[in-house]
């Protein structure tokens, strides 16, 4: 666990390139599909959404202040883009044994009280987030219909105040995708709560 990131950092510095996250996706990579349980008990796979034009995968959780600041915006995005053919899937990757605020029951409660219109999925066994390279909440991945990663990063540039947002990174990326273009920027940075998993 200690050696791999160090190795990745060394490789990165040798090549002089930057990876968004060691071991995670960069724009252009093909994302893995998953089969995860939502708060309603149903399983969700991206392959099941045959008509989707793309997927907005949001790694989030119940109580991280940054995730909470964004939860209404995420819900609005899900509503807005559903009609345009995009599927928003939220994934909670926190291990509830490490972060007791993120049990399945509390996820169900959150989804109900906030009226989430999107599937709120459990990353059972914390297997999906390392493949994506999600490190924090919220952390967004925009995929096209072939699951090619188009955009990674923040929803917008102001966590504190939705009305003061200047850059709508995610929506701009979706607009680029709609127009058959590659989003620019394709990767953005924002702070967030680290995803909580047991240490190896």
């Amino acid at each position: 666990m200690k050696i791999i990131p160090l190795f990745a950092v060394l490789v990165t510095s040798f090549l002089g390139t930057t990876l968004p996250v060691a071991g995670g996706y960069a724009p252009g990579d093909k994302a893995t599909d998953f089969n995860l349980k939502s708060v309603d008990g149903k399983m969700h796979r991206m392959a099941d959404y045959k008509d989707a034009k793309g997927f907005i995968v949001v790694f989030t959780c119940n109580t991280c202040p940054f995730a909470v600041k964004y939860e209404d915006r995420v819900n609005d995005l899900a509503k807005k883009y559903k009609s345009k053919g995009y599927v928003l899937l939220a994934i909670n990757s926190n291990d509830p044994e490490v972060q007791p605020d993120d049990t399945f029951a509390l996820m169900q409660k959150k989804a109900k009280t906030k009226g989430f219109v999107f599937p709120y999925l459990v990353d059972e066994g914390q297997k999906i987030y390392p493949q994506y390279g999600a490190t924090k909440t919220p952390h967004v991945f925009l995929l096209d219909k072939n699951l090619i990663v188009k955009y990674i990063g923040a929803i917008d540039d102001n966590a504190d105040d939705a009305s003061a947002v200047k850059q709508h990174y995610l929506e701009d990326a979706i607009a680029a995708l709609e127009n058959g273009k590659d989003p620019s920027p394709a990767v953005t940075k924002v702070i967030g709560c680290s995803i909580k998993a047991k240490k190896a």
């Binding site: 060691a22 952390h139 702070i191 967030g192």
Partner: protein, 166 residues
């Protein structure tokens, strides 16, 4: 009787000053990363251990005592705790927190919301999760986007950087 009154006054004054000296944290607030960096990194010879954290970040809070210990025990480095709390939380959250946790290492508050611009200036690989720790000495830099389980782990990490000098 006047003698005792004076003693009492002196006594109060003495302990009053000690209390102020040990608990008052002066937290400088910076609105831009550039201003904060300029204030923190003052010369090329000092080894700075810069920890990015926030009061709302549980793993950050957990490892904070290790950084305080590093500040108290390792005089070859300068520890700076960069809080990413909001400016509006300074009086109500950050200052009481520092007092409660007896943090005497230098704390600054950085309220630059344009993360996409300044996070890569610290390290291009930083995805934005905190805690993150950045060691700087002139042009030498070392960045870690993870927490430290113990003081020993932090100290080893810091020594791996400082010992390269010898």
């Amino acid at each position: 009787m006047p003698f005792f009154n004076n003693m009492k006054l002196l006594y109060l004054l003495f302990f009053g000053l000690i209390t102020i000296g040990t608990t008052a944290q002066n937290v400088a607030v910076y609105d831009t990363y550039a201003a904060a960096e300029k204030a923190i990194v003052q010369d090329d010879s000092t080894i700075y251990v810069i920890n990015f954290w926030a009061t709302w970040c549980a793993p950050c809070v957990k490892e904070l005592p290790s950084f305080e210990k590093l500040h108290l025990e390792n005089k070859s480095v300068k520890v700076i705790l960069v809080s990413l709390d909001s400016k509006k939380d300074l009086e109500k959250k950050l200052l009481p927190f520092l007092k409660r946790k007896n943090i005497t290492a230098e704390v600054v508050l950085l309220d630059d919301k344009d993360y996409n611009t300044w996070l890569p200036k610290v390290d291009k690989t930083w995805s934005g999760s905190i805690p993150a720790t950045w060691m700087v000495q002139g042009k030498r830099k070392l960045f870690a986007e993870h927490d430290f389980e113990s003081f020993a782990e932090l100290n080893d990490y810091v020594n791996s950087f400082t010992n390269l000098n010898k």
